[in-house]
């Protein structure tokens, strides 16, 4: 008996913690969002909580792929804002997303270098030089798909070495979990160059941008979905709708995001 009592106590504690209280009070919407949206979403949160009284946004940011995995494993998200179309599509295919996938913003890729860079990178072609330390995101992070596109096209441009793709890959010294971490490594001088989103470059005060030829650049699509497991699907849809409306777009534009195309 005495040895069983603790087990019973644990079971009771578990039950007490796990039952979600029914909320007649403010509706809490949990938004899982791509790391590159973090700064913009701080402003979105402030604006939306005024526009929609009674709604409290809780925003968690990480790489879109990491968040997708968490949602698949039961993370209680109401809305998922991804830096690509693929991750929301996978959730949709798994029956975890409700309604349609909404593209709410676009972004482009830029090359960043530290202000006082010893490697003196003037064009993306310099990335193929031997001593350059490139910081990249992990393969599963959405930007990596866009970057491989960029690198693929660059390699075929005049003035770029034939083995540009291989030379680029060989110079990658670190692979980060998300784009914000890539920017942080460049800011700290732990790398000489990195491809990041234009919005990240704009947000950072301590990196310089090196232009990429227009014909090599790509447009990233940011897409959002409402989760089927959401306890407040109506409120979640209303938020996603607002984000694609004039108020949401104005804030996103302020942070360098392009309108959806």
């Amino acid at each position: 008996m005495t040895r069983r009592a603790p087990a019973l106590a644990l079971a009771l504690a578990l039950a007490a913690c796990a039952t979600t209280p029914s909320p007649p009070e403010p509706v809490e919407l949990t938004v899982y969002a791509a790391a590159s949206l973090r700064n913009a979403l701080e402003q979105v949160e402030a604006a939306y909580e005024i526009a929609a009284p009674g709604i409290n946004l809780v925003i968690a940011t990480d790489s879109s792929a990491a968040l997708r995995t968490q949602i698949e494993q039961g993370a209680p998200a109401d809305v998922f804002l991804s830096a690509d179309l693929g991750n929301p599509q996978q959730l949709y295919d798994a029956g975890l997303a409700d309604g349609e996938i909404t593209i709410f913003a676009g972004n482009t890729v830029v090359l960043i270098v530290p202000f006082d860079t010893p490697a003196a990178i003037r064009t993306p072609a310099d990335l193929a030089r031997d001593e350059v330390r490139i910081v990249a995101a992990g393969d599963e992070v959405p930007i990596s798909k866009y970057v491989s596109n960029v690198v693929y096209v660059l390699a075929r441009l005049a003035g770029y070495p034939a083995d540009f793709s291989n030379a680029y890959a060989a110079n990658v010294v670190s692979r980060e979990d998300n784009v914000q971490a890539v920017v942080a490594k460049i800011e700290l001088g732990e790398g000489d160059a990195a491809f990041v989103y234009q919005t990240d470059a704009l947000a950072s005060g301590s990196v310089r941008t090196v232009p990429i030829p227009d014909e090599a650049n790509v447009q990233a699509h940011y897409a959002g979905v409402v989760m089927t497991t959401s306890a407040h699907p109506e409120a979640a849809r209303a938020f996603l709708h607002w984000l694609t409306g004039p108020d949401g777009r104005a804030i996103l534009a302020e942070f360098g995001f392009l309108p959806p195309s």
């Binding site: 040895r3 644990l10 504690a13 494993q73 039961g74 914000q180 942080a184 947000a203």
Partner: protein, 262 residues
């Protein structure tokens, strides 16, 4: 001379990064800004709350287990001891993944829990479970060692004087083992407070819900807010330092010696 140089080198290496971080945190406005930063404040509150709940669970379940391991003779005892020690040497990310595979929505117990209307992963409860998993061994080990060292003759003497088992435990066994139990508790608390890997895998990184202080250190660094990251780290260093200092001044050193666990 020949021993002092390498010895000093290692001490400097161990002290410098930690000391520099604390200086950095207090030299600028990082600390005052951080306390005003809702992410740091929420995480501090969440860390204190979850570690308290974890400690209650660990003491409630761990004390009977420690008693059993210190006193009992039963088949499979060595296996039980190994299982209890395992989380100490296991990488926390492995612990987090394993917890997810059992308690996750698609995990071994996920279906049964869902029927019961309980969802654990990526909730505050998941933070607590991760802490209990990684920190409980520290308490059980220390408590087992302390209880094993209690002189059985004193207990028998109490029994001869007419004390019941409950009275023996309350007035003889537990007070004699108290320094060991307290040392175990303090170590266990600091391990729970510092828990990162299992938490981020099993509970995620949601502000106010699962984002404890160590996750702020990581999250704010990733997001480029080095100041907030440093401040959260400084709080953790001071807490850890305080714990070790407390253990020393209260003369619990012997209980801290893990070799005593046998």
């Amino acid at each position: 001379m020949t021993t002092r140089v390498p010895a000093a080198l290692l001490v400097v290496f161990l002290a410098l990064p930690v000391g520099f971080l604390v200086v950095q945190a207090f030299a600028g406005r990082a600390m005052t800004d951080a306390i005003a930063n809702p992410a740091v404040r929420d995480a501090l509150v969440l860390s204190l709350l979850t570690t308290t709940v974890s400690l209650v669970i660990i003491v409630a379940l761990g004390t009977p287990l420690a008693l059993l391991l210190a006193r009992g003779r039963f088949p499979g005892r060595a296996l039980v001891e190994t299982v209890v020690d395992l989380p100490i040497v296991l990488p926390p990310s492995v612990a987090g993944l394993a917890l997810l595979l059992v308690f996750g929505t698609r995990g071994a117990l996920g279906g049964a829990l869902e029927v019961a209307g309980i969802s654990i992963p990526f909730t505050t409860l998941a933070v607590v479970l991760a802490q209990v998993f990684v920190a409980a061994p520290f308490f059980v080990r220390a408590a087992r060692a302390g209880l094993a060292n209690v002189d059985r003759q004193l207990e028998d003497a109490a029994r001869d004087l007419g004390a019941g088992e409950r009275q023996v435990a309350r007035h003889v066994t537990l007070p004699l083992a108290a320094p060991a139990l307290a040392a175990g508790l303090v170590l266990c608390w600091s391990r729970a407070l510092g828990e990162f890997g299992a938490t981020i895998m099993f509970a995620g990184n949601v502000p106010g819900r699962t984002q404890t202080l160590p996750l702020v250190v990581y999250g704010e660094f990733q997001a480029g807010d080095l100041e907030a990251s440093i401040a959260a780290a400084a709080i953790l260093i001071l807490a850890a330092f305080g714990v070790l200092l407390a253990v020393r001044t209260l003369n619990w050193r012997r209980a801290l010696d893990l070799r005593a666990g046998g």
